[in-house]
């Protein structure tokens, strides 16, 4: 594009970063929040009690509920209480469109729990942007590719990458923004690269099905069979013969000894001779993503029919990469590490976006500037989008948490209203940024976001359902709120160094 390689890369970094950075920021923020998706689920449904009931007891209560109310269903699903999600629920029907009934793990009685999209919304938004699933996956994949290109071009144009490893010169306007953008990018470069690349690997067979097209003639079923993902099936006639279901507790103990903590149970053809019991571990007992793995037992004799497969090196590599992205392994310390790294990634993207405007601000801000009207209008668009897509998105995210508690619990289509609240707030924030001067818009939205984050605890006290998981969410909200408040305060009254354009330029020359 330009004369030299570095100049071309700088051009690409600047413009791709600006145009795609807004959505990338949204993807990174929701991805960071999705690290704690289960905790947010729990926070957003305050009716679910904390419980100390063992999984075996909870499973027994779930089975007796299902025997009473759904004895003839073709499929039973039981989601067991775990460390991160203390709720118990049962479902019938297939996995995606089943009917879910939350139960009280202490009594086994159905619980009236409000419908809520929960933290799952952030998880889904992270890889689909709430578009129809397949479209969303491709859009997010394209954005991830831009992110990879942005990281590489960033390395190319950052000439003093080692010399300025820890350089940070605060209170120097544009220079400070650049330093922050560089430092956050360079210090966590391995994380940025890892999280972006592994994100692409999760759906790689959807993005680039070339291998299956070439070697398996595009027959993805043949490909999955070659992977050895065969499903255990019982002869169909057995499904007509009634039979008593085996006791679950010993099977759970056996599976837990083999797989680690258990997350859920699925029972196909319950109360028949064809009954199959699938016991699935929680994700994260190992680094490799174990989604879909299960130990399958005969539902009448309790005999183990199929164990979790040992993966060959190639599929294991892919699973480990997916696992590195899902961040389910290593317990809470690892979760916090991912959360903090994610926050820094978000800050890196945001500072890059802000830097774009700060760099050009002087040219357009002065009333007597010679910049033509069209360029000035485009600059204003970038400014408005920066506010709306950075602070506005954060307001929308925390606003979703508020909506989950404030919307009436028995509202029809409650989940849809929560999502509307999210996008409505985001839209309002964009409009607000459009009508206010940039600096005021930043201050007001950051302050609002700070109040909403900090206030989660207050909301929690009034709306009830306090336990240690929810308290964790609220304290984290408070800490983030304080950080945002500091940011708002810094924008509102910056240290008066950059007073005049000319003064700033001499400062830079000296630096």
């Amino acid at each position: 594009m330009k004369n030299t390689f570095t100049q071309s890369m700088a051009w690409l970094h600047t413009w791709a970063g600006l145009i795609f950075g807004w959505l990338l920021f949204a993807i990174f923020v929701t991805g960071t929040l999705a690290v704690f998706d289960k905790e947010l689920n729990h926070w957003m449904q305050p009716e679910i009690p904390a419980s100390t009931v063992s999984q075996a007891d909870a499973a027994k209560r779930a089975i007796s509920y299902l025997q009473q109310h759904q004895a003839n269903a073709g499929n039973w699903g039981i989601s067991l209480p775990t460390e991160r999600s203390p709720g118990l629920s049962v479902s019938t029907g297939d996995r995606r469109h089943g009917v879910v009934v939350p139960l009280d793990p202490n009594s086994g009685e159905p619980l009236a729990v409000r419908d809520s999209v929960g933290g799952n919304f952030f998880f889904r938004f992270h890889f689909t942007l709430d578009l129809p699933r397949n479209w969303g996956i491709f859009v997010v994949g394209a954005l991830a590719l831009v992110m990879l290109a942005g990281l590489i071009t960033g390395i190319v144009i950052h000439k003093k990458i080692f010399k300025e490893f820890f350089t940070f010169r605060p209170d120097k306007g544009q220079r400070s923004w650049l330093d922050f953008h560089n430092a956050s990018a360079v210090l966590l470069l391995p994380f940025h690269l890892m999280i972006t690349y592994t994100g692409l690997v999760i759906f790689m067979m959807i993005y680039i099905p070339a291998g299956v097209d070439a070697v398996f003639e595009g027959d993805s079923r043949a490909y999955f069979q070659a992977q050895g993902n065969a499903r255990v099936e019982q002869p169909r006639r057995l499904a007509k013969t009634p039979a008593e279901l085996v006791e679950l507790a010993p099977l759970l103990a056996e599976a837990e000894a083999r797989l680690g903590p258990i997350g859920s149970i699925g029972i196909r053809n319950p109360n028949t001779a064809a009954a199959l019991i699938e016991v699935r571990p929680v994700l994260g007992n190992r680094i490799a993503l174990t989604k879909g793995n299960a130990m399958v037992f005969d539902g009448v004799s309790g005999k183990l029919l199929s164990d979790v497969p040992e993966l060959r090196p190639a599929p294991l590599t892919q699973r480990v990469m997916a696992g590195l992205h899902f961040a389910q392994f290593g317990g809470y310390p690892m979760r916090w590490l991912y959360f903090i790294c994610g926050l820094i990634s978000c800050a890196m993207i945001a500072s890059g976006l802000v830097l774009f405007c700060v760099k050009r601000g002087r040219k357009y801000a002065a009333a007597d500037s010679r910049a033509d009207a069209a360029a000035r209008r485009w600059y204003r668009v970038a400014e408005v989008c920066n506010v709306g897509f950075i602070s506005g998105l954060m307001v929308a995210c925390v606003g979703l948490l508020w909506a989950s508690r404030l919307l009436p619990a028995e509202l029809a289509q409650r989940e849809a209203w929560e999502v509307r609240a999210f996008f409505g707030l985001w839209l309002l924030a964009l409009l607000h940024a459009g009508v206010r001067p940039a600096k005021q818009a930043w201050v007001e939205q950051l302050a609002l976001c700070a109040v909403l984050c900090g206030g989660l605890g207050v909301l929690g006290i009034f709306a009830g359902g306090v336990d240690h998981l929810r308290l964790g969410v609220e304290v984290t909200g408070l800490v983030l709120g304080i950080g945002l408040a500091l940011a708002a305060w810094r924008v509102a009254c910056p240290k008066p160094v950059v007073v005049k354009p000319r003064a700033a330029r001499t400062m830079e020359a000296k630096a």
Binding site: M1, F5, S8, M9, W11, L12, A142, L145, L148, A149, I152, T153, Y197, L200, V201, M204, M205, Y207, I208, A210, G211, V212, D213, A214, V215, F216, E217, Y223, A226, Q227, R312, P313, A314, P315, T317, Q318, M321
Partner: protein
């Protein structure tokens, strides 16, 4: 050359990056999956893992190359790679 409007040059390079890059990474994955000495199911995975590296390189190439025509080189390169990847299908189609 210099009369080409800027937006057209950007559009051409973006097209080269997006389409040329996809064709290149798709074809090189197909080629790798065909020639890797592994079981087919494993070869597909091992060949697809580096696809995004190819794609990223093609994007950088599209914007870094000196003239606009060379920006489309990955697309041209995709043709022989795809022929290797899909040679049984290609032979069947010819027959």
């Amino acid at each position: 050359m210099s009369e080409t409007p800027t937006w057209l040059r950007i559009l051409s390079r973006s097209g080269a990056a997006l389409l040329g890059g996809y064709a290149f990474s798709y074809a090189s994955t197909a080629c790798l999956a065909r020639i890797l000495p592994l079981a087919p199911a494993d070869a597909v995975i091992v060949a697809t893992l580096p696809a995004f590296v190819f794609y990223t390189l093609a994007i950088l190439w599209a914007f870094a190359s000196r003239d606009a025509l060379r920006a489309w080189a990955p697309l041209a390169l995709a043709v022989p790679l795809a022929l290797i990847g899909f040679w049984p299908q290609a032979l069947r189609w010819l027959a």
